[in-house]
């Protein structure tokens, strides 16, 4: 299987120079479902940020989708991000846009015609069971519904990789289950590589997954 992510001696730190991730070596193959766990402040979200290029490696090499993120140009990073879907704990929806426009965003960035995009948005809204909420603004929806919109947005452009940062952190059990089902579906049906940063791994998952645990800046592959 092709490698979607390859990290060699990867070290990450913020501007204060305190090393968060220290000389990590790991790889993720295409179609893998990966959980990254660790205590609060262990560097899970920092690692995820580095995967979509928001934080440059301090040392070592990090290749995502064939792009070396240690020395990446802005245009190449934009190109990579057009093939990644990201889901955040705080949803990061544009509040002044309708949920339809939010879902349409990656399609417009990828150059889809508006009419094609609209059809795709309708399909996705049905997929995340929000077709009855079409035309509404994010703040008119509950937290669980907003996260489903964020999921639909992450899936809209059929990305090669979905990165999710504690996607169920703010949600109740019902909404969390819906999100896990959506992530599982994307991985099983579309063969999308999924990487989820989380505090706990749901027991209801019916798929094989990889599990990385971060402790004291080191990444351990559990299974």
């Amino acid at each position: 299987m092709d490698k979607v992510i390859v990290a060699k001696d990867l070290s990450l730190s913020y501007s204060n120079n305190e090393t968060i991730i220290n000389k990590a070596n790991f790889s993720v193959s295409s179609g893998n479902f990966v959980f990254i766990t660790g205590a609060s402040g262990s560097g899970k979200s920092t690692l995820l940020k580095s995967l979509y290029g928001a934080l440059k490696p301090k040392q070592g090499s990090l290749i995502v989708g064939g792009v070396e993120l240690a020395r990446v140009s802005r245009s190449k990073l934009n190109f990579l991000r057009r093939h990644i879907g990201i889901v955040f704990q705080d949803y990061k929806l544009v509040k002044e846009w309708t949920i339809d426009k939010n879902i349409m965003l990656p399609l417009l960035i990828n150059g889809y015609v508006k009419s094609v995009g609209s059809n795709q948005v309708d399909k996705l809204l049905r997929h995340v069971r929000l077709n009855h909420q079409s035309g509404k603004f994010p703040l008119e929806l509950s937290g669980g519904e907003q996260q489903r919109v964020a999921m639909a947005r992450a899936l809209a452009h059929n990305p090669i990789l979905i990165l999710a940062d504690e996607p169920t952190g703010n949600l109740d059990e019902y909404s969390s289950q819906l999100i896990w089902n959506l992530l599982e579906g994307a991985n099983e049906q579309l063969k999308t590589t999924v990487i989820v940063v989380t505090h706990y791994i749901p027991k209801t998952l019916n798929i094989d997954y990889k599990h990385f645990h971060i402790e004291y800046g080191n990444i351990h592959e559990i299974c």
Binding site: Y14, A54, N78, L80, R81, R82, E96, L105, P106
Partner: protein, 270 residues
């Protein structure tokens, strides 16, 4: 309603800049027209013991536009009732020559002083009356008016620039989140900034057309025309083509600079 609010603050700030700029231009035009008017009505009297040619006087200082000999008839007429006609003719020959000197433009007090010296330095001219006191008073009034208008325009400019910078911070806050989210999905800079530039251009157009409407109305106002007629000047208050293009250019430049500052100041979330 929300959309109107989005536009209103920048439109008002732009409109006040455009308004003060056009008022300043109007004041400049009025002052220039009034100066021409004053120059036409203002003249200096030079006295000479011998007959001078017009060219001789014109060569003394380049500010001199025209020199015209004044006829002594009106003076002599008052004395002639008690005099013989032969004596009147003799008097005419002995009287000095008076010249009315018209100037090319309304001079500054320094230029008047220089002209007076130049005329007196000429051997033929013995006396000069420059009515400098009247000139000085009018010139100072003109200068005062011009300074008041300049100060007014400068104050409005400073206040509106402060307003615009406040607006910039609000815009930065409002647009930062959307631009960051778009960046997360790989939107190029132009696409992330497109909404901002569209908003800036629309606001510049709204402010320009509002200014166009206000000044077109003012320029057709009979009351304003009457005010200018009272002081004997006729100016173009608002030129619908030249002035509108200038207003549009200024409004566009300000809002595009504003949008560019926001885009350049945008920092992506890390």
């Amino acid at each position: 309603m929300k959309s109107v609010k989005n536009h209103l603050s920048l439109v008002i700030a732009l409109l006040s800049i455009l308004f003060s700029m056009q008022v300043f231009i109007m004041a400049e035009r009025s002052i220039e027209a009034y100066k021409v008017n004053l120059a036409n009505n203002y003249s200096i009297i030079a006295v000479s013991q011998k007959q001078l040619k017009s060219n001789e006087i014109l060569s003394i200082n380049k500010i001199i536009l025209k020199a015209q000999e004044l006829s002594p008839d009106s003076v002599i007429k008052r004395l002639s009732s008690d005099m013989k006609s032969s004596n009147v003719e003799l008097l005419k020959l002995t009287l000095p020559k008076f010249y009315k000197i018209t100037l090319a433009y309304y001079p500054t007090p320094q230029e008047i002083k220089q002209l007076r010296n130049d005329l007196l330095n000429s051997t033929a001219i013995t006396k000069v009356e420059d009515f400098s006191h009247t000139h000085d008073t009018t010139y100072k009034l003109l200068l005062l008016f011009k300074n008041i208008v300049t100060i007014f325009a400068a104050v409005v400019l400073v206040v509106t620039i402060l307003l615009i910078f406040k607006e910039l911070r609000i815009w930065q806050y409002k647009h930062n989140e959307r631009m960051s989210i778009m960046g997360l999905f790989g939107a190029a800079l132009w696409l992330r900034s497109a909404v901002l530039f569209r908003l800036a251009i629309v606001d510049a157009l709204i402010a320009s057309f509002l200014a166009f409407g206000i000044f077109t109305y003012l320029s057709s106002s009979i009351w304003i025309k009457e005010q200018f007629e009272y002081i004997g000047i006729n100016i173009v208050i608002f030129n619908p083509i030249d002035d509108f293009l200038m207003i549009l250019g200024v409004a566009m430049s300000i809002s595009i600079i504003l949008a560019s500052l926001i885009v350049l100041g945008h920092k992506e979330e890390a």
